[in-house]
Amino acid sequence: MLNKRPIIQVNNLSKHYVRNEYRPSLRHEATQMVQRWLGRATQVSWQSEPFWALKNISFTIYQGESVGIVGRNGSGKTTLLRTLSNITDPTEGTVSVHGRFRTLIGLSAGFDFQRTGRENIYFNSAIYGFPPSVVDTFIEDIIEFSELRDFLDTPVKRYSSGMVSRLGFSIAIHMMPEIIFLDEILSVGDSAFQEKCQQRVLELKDRQCTIVYVSHSEASVRMLCDRAIWLHQGHLMMDGSVDDVFEAYTEMIHGEATTT
C-alpha cells in the first residue's frame, strides 16, 4: 500500500448544518436588522442550534482501494460523499481529490425528469464533460447494460425507481471514472441486476479504480471492499479492515438493541 499514491485526502473535515429547517425570509432578516438598530436584538438567529454532520474527520484513501463507509442513519455518510464530490463546501478542514470522479447519490445522479432516458444519457454525460460525439461511441453499451431499451424514449419521470437507478448506474460505470462514489446504489433493482452491478464494480476495482461505497448492507461491503470506515454521529469511530470494523459495529448495534 505504501507505494501507491494517495487519491483522497481528508484533513480534519467538519460540516455544520442548521438543525431546524427554518428558511430565513427577507422579512425576518429585515426585522432582525431593525431590532439590532434599536438595540434589542432577540438573538434568535436562524443560525442557532448548530448540528455537526461531520466532526474532525481525517483519513487517506490510496489508488485502487475500495472503502466501505458504514454507520447508522444520520451518521454523516452521505454528507461525507457530498463533500468529497464537491457538491458542498466543508465548514472546516480540507478535502483533496486527485482524479476524475463520478458520484451516484441516491437514485438519480442528476437527471432532468422531464426528458427521456436517451436525452438524459447525453445530458448526464455532458455534466461530466463528455460531448455527444463521445457519448455516441458508448451509448449502445449503456442501453444494453441498463436493460431499458424499450423505455429509452419515455420521460424519466414515468420511470420506476428501479429503472431510474439502473439508468444512473449504467451511465456512471461506462464513463470510466478513476474514482467512484456510490451511495447505497447497489441495493436497488432486482437481485439479478444487483449482481450485474456488483460484477461491474469489481471490474472497475480490477482496473485500479478507487471506490468509496456507502451501504447498510454488510454482505455487499464485505464483497466489494477491503477497508471500512465507521461513522457514528459525525465522528469517525473506526478505520480498518472490513472484518474488524463490522465486528465492533455489530457489537455496538446489538448493545444498543438490548439496552433499549
Binding site: 428558511r23 463546501d89 465548514t91 480540507t94 478535502v95 483533496s96 486527485h98 460531448p131 461506462h174
Partner: protein
C-alpha cells in the same frame, strides 16, 4: 454482457480537463474568491447543452411555440401605441410611435425574460444542484443565452416593421451587436444577484415580476429619454443600463437624432459593475446552494 470500451479509448476522446486529472482541493469558502473562468471554459459543452435544452423545452411543450417570442413584445407594442402613443400623446423623437416603442420592446423583452429565468434557474434546478457538481454559473448563463433565439424572432418582426414604415437603418447599425451584448451583461449581472438570493429567500421569486414592471417604466421604453432636457441628467439616466441599451437600439436602427453617446458610456460602466459584483456574490455563495436550496 457487452464488452466495455477500453478505458484508454474513452480517455483519449474525452475533453482535455478529464485527461488533465484535476487536483480538486476543497476548503471553506472565505473572503475574496477566484472567479475561475478556466473551469467555465472547460464546461462549455454543458453550457451549450443546457442552453439548447431550455430552448427545446420552450418550443416543444407550448402549443404555438415560437410565436410566443413574437406575441409578447408585439401585443405590448399594440397596447402602448394605443394608450401612450394615441391617447396620451407621448412624443417619440419624430418616429412613428409603434416602431419607436417596438424597437425598445425587443431588447427589453429579452432582458426581462433573461432576468426572470436566470433568477429562477438555481431553484428550478435544485434536483441537479443537490446531486452533482458542475459550475453553478452555467445555470443562469444558459437561462439568458436561451433567450437569444426569442430575441432574433422578435427582431425579424422589427425588420418587417421598418420595411413597412420605410425606415432605412443608418450605418450605426454595426453597433447593434454591442448593444445586445450590453443587454446580456445587464441581465446576467442582475440575474446573478437574484439567482443567489433566491436560494436563500424565496421572496425573491415573488418580487421579480414587480421589479421587472417598475424597471420597465423607469426605462425609456414607452417614452424617449430626450424628454429629459438637461444633458447631465440625461447621461445619469444611463445608470439604468437598459436606458443605454434602448437608446442605442433606436439610434442604430431608427436613426433618432438624439445622440446617445454619454448615456451609453454611463450604462456600460453601470452594467459592468453589476456584473462583477454579481459574479463575486454568486461565487461566494455557490457552495452553499446545495445545502440550502
Amino acid at each position: 454482457m457487452s464488452s466495455p470500451i477500453p478505458v484508454e479509448q474513452i480517455i483519449e476522446k474525452s475533453p482535455q480537463h478529464l485527461q488533465a486529472k484535476p487536483r480538486l482541493r476543497l476548503a471553506p469558502t472565505k473572503g475574496w474568491v477566484s472567479l475561475n473562468f478556466q473551469e467555465l471554459k472547460e464546461y462549455r459543452e454543458l453550457l451549450f447543452f443546457m442552453t439548447w435544452r431550455d430552448i427545446k423545452v420552450r418550443y416543444k411543450q407550448t402549443v404555438i411555440g415560437a410565436l410566443w417570442a413574437i406575441i409578447q413584445p408585439f401585443l405590448t407594442m399594440v397596447v402602448f401605441s394605443l394608450f401612450f402613443g394615441r391617447l396620451a400623446g407621448v412624443p417619440s423623437d419624430n418616429i412613428p410611435y409603434p416602431i419607436f416603442t417596438y424597437a425598445a420592446l425587443v431588447p427589453w423583452t429579452f432582458f426581462a425574460n433573461g432576468l426572470t429565468n436566470s433568477a429562477n434557474s438555481l431553484v428550478s434546478n435544485a434536483n441537479l444542484i443537490k446531486k452533482v457538481y458542475f459550475p453553478r454559473l452555467i445555470l443562469p448563463v444558459s437561462a439568458i443565452m436561451s433567450g437569444v433565439i426569442d430575441f432574433f424572432l422578435a427582431f425579424v418582426i422589427l425588420l418587417a416593421m421598418m420595411l413597412f414604415y420605410g425606415i432605412v437603418p443608418t450605418v450605426n447599425v454595426i453597433w447593434l451587436p454591442a448593444f445586445l451584448l450590453l443587454a446580456v451583461v445587464t441581465s446576467l449581472g442582475v440575474g446573478l444577484w437574484f439567482a443567489a438570493m433566491n436560494v436563500q429567500f424565496r421572496d425573491v421569486r415573488y418580487a421579480i415580476p414587480f421589479l421587472v414592471q417598475f424597471w420597465m417604466f423607469a426605462t425609456p421604453v414607452a417614452y424617449p429619454s430626450s424628454m429629459i432636457k438637461n444633458d447631465l441628467l440625461r447621461a445619469l439616466y444611463g445608470i439604468n443600463p437598459m436606458a443605454g441599451v434602448i437608446e442605442g437600439f433606436r439610434w442604430a436602427l431608427l436613426g433618432t437624432e438624439t445622440s446617445p453617446g454619454a448615456i451609453i458610456v454611463v450604462s456600460s460602466l453601470a452594467a459592468l459593475l453589476m456584473l462583477i459584483g454579481g459574479l463575486y456574490y454568486f461565487k461566494r455563495l455557490e457552495k452553499t446552494f446545495a445545502d440550502v436550496v
